[in-house]
């Protein structure tokens, strides 16, 4: 066989196949697209028993009067119902019209169209929508799909990490702008540990009554009534600030006990201690979050984390109150302020030996 003839013969065999493949490509693409649309409808709109993609009518569909069709009927085009559909009717692109005498025993759904059923009967629900539900969103319906254990664990870890990341940022801010106050609260904790705890407990118990008294005091004066909402907000912010400062002080105290490099500067030591202290609480809560798959163990660890955090918050609150948010420095750190000692200046009185001025006070006065 000459070469040219072989080529023509081969071409003759291959050409129909290639043409067939070309015409099949759009058909399979449409089928895939329809299958995806049906999946979105089934999951997003909760329509059960939808037919396979190849059973969907491509274009308009009509159910003549006097005929009964077993549903669901799905078409990529408008659907006209004059007969009876035993099931749901879904138009993927167009209106659903139910004529006089027409009956749909299930739902009528129109995507990108309307339901016109003034004279017909739809026993189920009529739904028209601007677009199909998004598959991703539809698959996460909270009521229908409960969260898996891994998802719940991931969410818990994410929340714990987020909270402690925020706390770390706040700690940095406190260190930069209120470092001295933090030092004083830490100092108070070191010197008046037990007292700080009981003051903290009392502070927690008095938090609400103090607010009530504040509101009542404002309410007594007529002008003060207007200030009540602002006072409530300001009180909340102040309380949150005091509690946070106290908690950071406890974290720094704990962190400082574990991490105290001798070569580092004072600021680096303070920063490191704060980070280590926060990390300890973070690890506690993180373990509780990671144990989401074991509810009993998670409850035990969470209770421990809660107890530790409450103790830290209580101690911190007490120390912050005792040191007046770290502003009452000399008293907070246990040193007597200069002015308190200075009154002891010896007064020369005849016949009396002058009292000796305390050494510390003299040094401080200089």
């Amino acid at each position: 066989m000459p070469t040219l003839q072989r080529i023509l013969l081969a071409f003759g065999f291959l050409l129909p196949g290639a043409l067939g493949a070309q015409s099949a490509a759009p058909a399979s693409s449409t089928a895939r697209s329809t299958a995806l649309e049906l999946e979105r409808l089934a999951k997003g709109e909760g329509i059960a028993g939808l037919p396979p993609a190849d059973s969907v009518t491509q274009g308009p569909r009509s159910i003549p009067a006097g005929t009964t069709v077993r549903g669901p009927v799905v078409a990529r085009g408008p659907i006209d119902v004059a007969g009876t559909v035993d099931g749901s009717v879904v138009s993927l692109a167009g209106d659903v019209v139910v004529r006089r005498g027409g009956v749909i025993t299930g739902d009528a759904v129109a995507v990108g169209g309307h339901i016109l059923a003034d004279s017909g009967r739809v026993e189920g629900e009529m739904r028209s929508m601007s677009a199909l539900p998004t598959l991703l969103a539809a698959s996460t319906l909270p009521a229908a799909v409960p969260r898996s254990a891994s998802q719940a664990t991931f969410d818990a870890v994410r929340i714990v990490t987020g909270v402690f990341a925020m706390l770390l940022v706040i700690a940095l801010g406190v260190l930069l702008f209120a470092g001295q106050n933090l030092d004083e609260v830490v100092g108070t904790l070191e010197r008046r540990f037990a007292r700080a705890f009981w003051v903290g407990v009392s502070g927690q118990l008095l938090l609400l009554p103090v607010l009530v008294v504040l509101v009542l005091a404002l309410a007594v004066s007529i002008i003060g009534i207007l200030l009540i909402p602002f006072a409530i907000v300001a009180y909340g912010i102040a309380a949150a600030g005091v509690v946070t400062l106290g908690f950071l002080a406890v974290a720094r105290l704990i962190g400082g006990a574990l991490w105290h490099p001798e070569t580092a500067t004072a600021r680096a030591r303070s920063l490191g201690a704060l980070a280590v202290g926060i990390a300890i609480f973070f690890v506690l809560w993180l373990v509780a979050a990671l144990l989401g798959w074991a509810p009993l163990a998670a409850s035990v660890v969470r209770a421990a984390a809660l107890a530790a955090t409450w103790a830290a918050l209580t101690l911190g609150l007490g120390a912050t109150i005792l040191s007046r948010a770290g502003t009452h420095r000399r008293v907070a750190s246990g040193k007597r302020p200069i002015e308190l000692a200075a009154w002891q200046t010896p007064t020369p009185i005849t016949g009396v030996i002058a009292a000796r001025r305390p050494v510390a006070a003299v040094k401080e006065a200089r």
């Binding site: 026993e123 998004t134 509101v215």
Partner: protein, 288 residues
Amino acid sequence: MRGHVFALALAGALALVPAGLVHAQGDPLWRSVDISRQLRDSQPQRIRVQYGAGRVDVHGSTDPLLYALHLRYDESRAAPLHQYDAEQRSALLGLESRGQGLRSTGGRDAPGELRLSLPRSVPLDLDLEFGGTAATLELGGLALQSLRLECGATDATLAFTTPNRSRMRELDVNVGAAGFRGAHLANANADEIRVRGGVGSVDLDFGGTWTRDLAVSTRLAVGTLTLHVPADVGVRVDLERVAASFRHEGLVKRDDAWYSENWDTAPHKLRIRAETYFGKIDIQRNAQ
């Protein structure tokens, strides 16, 4: 060296926070859905509506539909609620928040929207729960047997411009931090109206057609309570207040209560029990 490590860790934490916020925000996927159900009969029905945030409009309709609900919502945050129990004759409609945490269905100013039409021919027990919304409820002409309205941070207006077609067993309004206005409440055809509020202003207008005596109990923690009462209606006010002022136009005190001068002769009577802790109670007499 260690100081650098901590500085880097802090910088990382700082970088993570905005990234997390961006992730949490997400892009909205706005979508509209119209959901309705044909009326089969005129037997009583119970309809419960839940909606988080956005604009709300509820009104009556003569269409032969049990409900016609239009929702515009962010699909990434919320999913439509539409359940109907034919045996119990009850429907649950609205929007539910998707996912966990602090995500909501949008703020009060978000373009989310719920419009609901209810039939005038069917006796209804209506239960409305709204979060942060701007709600307009025009329920005149419906046949409400009971109405319970619960609002969070809501600017809500409840109006009965035409009389309710059924005798209402109870009308219960519970608002959080919000402004609530009730208009033409005499048309509600209720025996008793209860309004409870947290912080905000509550304005109740008892205009409309009076067919029977009405008892109203209001409790507002902090805010202004204003009651507009037609001049031809007899009023009795029992007050309980802590630090609230009381403006009583034309009312006189007898025993422990305040009475209008026409209390003994008025064809219809309004008994008000007002409880306010801080703020103002204002009773205004309007010409009918």
